[in-house]
Subunit: 229 residues, 2 copies
Amino acid sequence: MAVTTAGPDPEDLTARARIRDAALLHFGEHGFERATIRGIAETAGVSSGLVRHHFGSKQALREACDAHLVKVVRRLNDQVRADPAPGDINYVAASRTALGPYQRYLARALAEGSAATLFDEMVQMTEQWLAEADTRRPDPPDVDRKDRAAVFTAMALSITVLHQHISRAMGVEVFSPQGDLPLARALIDVYSHPMLSLEDASVIRAALDKTQDASPRTDPHTDTGATLR
Amino acid sequence: MAVTTAGPDPEDLTARARIRDAALLHFGEHGFERATIRGIAETAGVSSGLVRHHFGSKQALREACDAHLVKVVRRLNDQVRADPAPGDINYVAASRTALGPYQRYLARALAEGSAATLFDEMVQMTEQWLAEADTRRPDPPDVDRKDRAAVFTAMALSITVLHQHISRAMGVEVFSPQGDLPLARALIDVYSHPMLSLEDASVIRAALDKTQDASPRTDPHTDTGATLR
DNA sequence: TAGGAAGCTACACGCGTGTGTAGCCACTGT
DNA sequence: ACAGTGGCTACACACGCGTGTAGCTTCCTA
């Protein structure tokens, strides 16, 4: 069953690591602004001054969290790519697996705009996966792969970012043993059924391009030039 | 082209409405916590005391913003459903059109957890659209429609919520005249190509169900019971 | 063994903030 | 004409917060 959240780094258990983990928790639970250094310090079992001593500022602490998350995800990805496990469906889905306690922080960080390099990294992974998937595709893609990768990545992450809303709508906490299966089934169904047929798609694409040519009006607010956005 | 952001309500122009609009702006730009009542008041051209007079508290102001956004989206949806315009591809895409200045607030609100009723409303819209789309579907869906609607909605909204990351990855601000077309093309491509073939999907689904039966271990953190989540 | 850096704490400062209070102005209905 | 209500302002308060500073302890090193 492949990837599990790796245990603490050998270098961990140190106060610095405990603070970082506590910060991950608090930032994820309350958001960056509402989380307090004092609260983080208490969870870590240290004084608030030590937080400053190790990280300098609250912002720097956040960046350390982001960096750590990048490291975790990168390791996770390497693990998956090295693993010849046949069960892994795709990199997007795999990259969301076993993040465990980091889920909430990841969601917050993405929404609040930090975690930029993490997103970019994920796009790159998706791109690699797409490169492979494109070979099995009937029609040749005429859209830049990176663009598609970005959209795919965002969609995959939407489950994490909006998990509380999805949970509410589905009537079960999706990131729990009870909600896991329903979510997986829904995802499989969605992933295996395109919203648009290839014919519809080409029709729309044609209309889109024509619109672009015909109407060079570009009022940034009222109409952005495309019916489908 | 079809739906445009409706002009100010007749009852608007009032100070209360100006405050609400300013709040939408500030909350969207800086987030709820960082936004200040004084800043909102200044943008609205009123004193900070008036904000309190009209809305009572910052939290209540936020709720008023959410309520207003729900009203806007609901009106937008009615407009789309009433309109016999043939250009509208689907409700999910349509519901994201022409939200203009509300985009940023919507993104923040969803991520921060308010805007719950708005999300639920959108799920309902998507559900209606799915009900129709299901009739044109080859295989009968064996997943609850509401579950699929929730996932669909989240994915559609991911563009809004993560727009800054997508913009960075694509190298162009997606919610601008320049970025509009590239995003539309990427979306069409993604929407018209399933990530999973029907065969793969059924294989995974079978494996998933078997896993569920065979291994009733439900450690909430290490392994959540499914390879694909 | 002496020196010093690093880990760590306690405490205080100052600022920005949401909120509370008192009161003015304008308009309306009688 | 006049009370009264609601829109609106100015000002002050109290509190929580990030940050700064001084100093203690522990352990490595020369």
